[in-house]
């Protein structure tokens, strides 16, 4: 039994965790030898609580508790800078996606609630309309997040330039799209790739 001995508390580490993340992401997380290339190429480390290479190290150590509540996994913009340069061919964005899905599945305190909420609303909009409806999405996010007045000025400017179409676009095949959603959800319940 391996435990991390911080000053006053010690957190149990689960050596099985990296294998679970490896299966969920399809990436050989154990292969990482911490060369640091992903972190020094990542544009967003300044906003993250753990830089990518240290987050991967914590995955290897099995510090599930700390990894799933980290902000890093939600701030990753999947720009694939790390994946392109990783000497061990580890696709870090895929690992970040797997960790996002695990965090939601295990109902932990999510590292960045706003981003998680955005993704959920985005998919909900597409599920219903078949295409994105920016105005609707922004409206829903403001209501749900309570951040009513953010970006009002630039939002107005975009609207006046005709960049925010007021009406949504609906696709004819919404029926079979809902079937796609149902089948995907069924697969997920079978523990498809969670």
């Amino acid at each position: 039994m391996i435990r991390a001995r911080a000053a006053t508390r010690s957190i149990p580490l689960d050596p099985g965790f990296p294998w679970e993340v490896g299966r969920a992401s399809g990436q050989p997380v154990m292969r990482c030898f911490q060369c640091g290339r992903c972190t020094n190429g990542c544009p967003l480390t300044w906003a993250m609580d753990h830089p990518p290479h240290r987050l991967l190290r914590m995955v290897q150590l099995g510090a599930e508790g700390e990894v799933l509540v980290s902000r890093t996994i939600w701030l990753c913009s999947a720009c694939h800078g790390c994946a392109t340069r990783c000497p061990n061919d580890i696709h870090l964005p895929a690992v970040m996606d797997a960790l996002k899905q695990m965090a939601l599945a295990r109902r932990v305190r999510v590292g960045d609630r706003q981003v998680a909420l955005f993704h959920r609303l985005f998919l909900a909009t597409v599920a219903r309309l078949g295409r994105m409806y920016e105005l609707g999405l922004i409206g829903l996010h403001k209501l749900a997040s309570g951040n009513l007045f953010g970006d009002l000025k630039v939002g107005l400017l975009m609207f006046t330039r005709g960049k925010l179409s007021p009406l949504p676009q609906l696709i004819k095949g919404r029926g079979d799209l809902r079937a796609v959603w149902r089948r995907a959800a069924a697969l997920r319940r079978e523990g498809g790739r969670q």
């Binding site: 544009p43 913009s77 996002k100 706003q114 799209l177 796609v180 697969l187 498809g192 790739r193």
Partner: protein, 290 residues
């Protein structure tokens, strides 16, 4: 040349001028665009963040419809849509369990023989720089531009499989073909923060200010991009003191090819392009208020 055209959600709203310029420039270069019938959103970042199966099923449904309509090449001007479609295509071609799942969830059989290209790729590989140069009637002599590829147009290499992920040159060649002067600069493939913009604006502001600072240091007058999300981020989240217009590469090509509607496209820009383009096209983009 006939291709299936996948506009993507942005081109119907925030990137309206990109869609218009594409629909004008393509035929001018002999490329007939046939929109994919009843196309659906490719899922972009949110799908692959939350659901691995959906992130492939959504783009795959579009491929299914293109295949049903008998197309060989599907073109997506938006880098994100191109990346998602190409990822789905790669999975389908790889076969195996993932491919079966996608076909089962979408409900179609993949026959193969389908290609997915970004618009830059199509112009650079199929139309060819020579053909473009021959059609230019108003070369944009001396226009110093910084070509901004962003990330999903060229990365990850095993999926995008287009140009060089670290030092891409396709757009630079297209700009040179229409007489402009592409400058080499450091942030050509740095990420602009993409979908974080709507939720974490300040994060994108910092990334955008770095990118535009590099463009200014390289002496560029304007930034040229091929991705609607990058264009809106670079314009919406730019620092006040940098007034550099952000063009879609098709807009400048349209201007150089002498196409009619250039004015209409330019009006949609948040940063007034007039100071930069007036020496090529008097009155373009001029209107009340900045």
């Amino acid at each position: 040349m006939k291709v299936a055209y996948f506009p993507g959600c942005s081109l119907h709203s925030t990137a309206r001028e990109y869609d218009q310029s594409v629909r004008a420039v393509a035929p001018a270069l002999g490329v007939q665009l046939i929109t994919v019938e009843d196309w659906n959103c490719c899922g972009a970042t949110s799908a692959h963040s939350l659901d691995p199966v959906l992130s492939l099923a959504l783009p795959a449904r579009n491929l299914a419809r293109a295949q049903a309509a008998g197309h060989q090449v599907v073109v997506a001007p938006c880098a994100a849509c191109f990346n998602r479609l190409k990822t789905a295509l790669c999975q389908l071609e790889e076969g195996g369990e993932a491919a079966q799942t996608i076909q089962k969830v979408v409900g179609f059989r993949f026959h193969g023989g389908l290609q997915v290209k970004s618009l830059v790729q199509l112009f650079w590989e199929d139309v060819g720089v020579g053909a473009i140069r021959r059609r230019v009637c108003r070369p944009l002599e001396g226009l110093r531009v910084a070509c901004y590829y962003g990330c999903l147009l060229v990365r990850p290499p095993e999926v995008a499989a287009f140009d060089d992920p670290e030092h891409p040159r396709a757009m630079d060649d297209l700009m040179a073909a229409i007489g402009a002067e592409p400058t080499s600069w450091a942030a050509a493939t740095e990420c602009c923060g993409a979908s974080l913009s709507l939720v974490r604006g300040q994060v994108v502001e910092r990334l955008v200010s770095t990118i535009l600072a590099w463009a200014q240091r390289a002496g560029a007058e304007a930034v040229v991009t091929a991705c609607p999300l990058c264009q809106s981020n670079l314009e919406m989240r730019r620092p006040a003191h940098i007034k550099m217009p952000i063009f879609y590469f098709t807009e400048l090509m349209g201007l150089a090819l002498g196409l009619p509607d250039v004015k209409r496209w330019m009006r949609a820009h948040l940063v007034d392009p007039a100071p930069v383009l007036s020496r090529f096209y008097p009155g373009v983009g001029a209107r009340r208020g900045g």
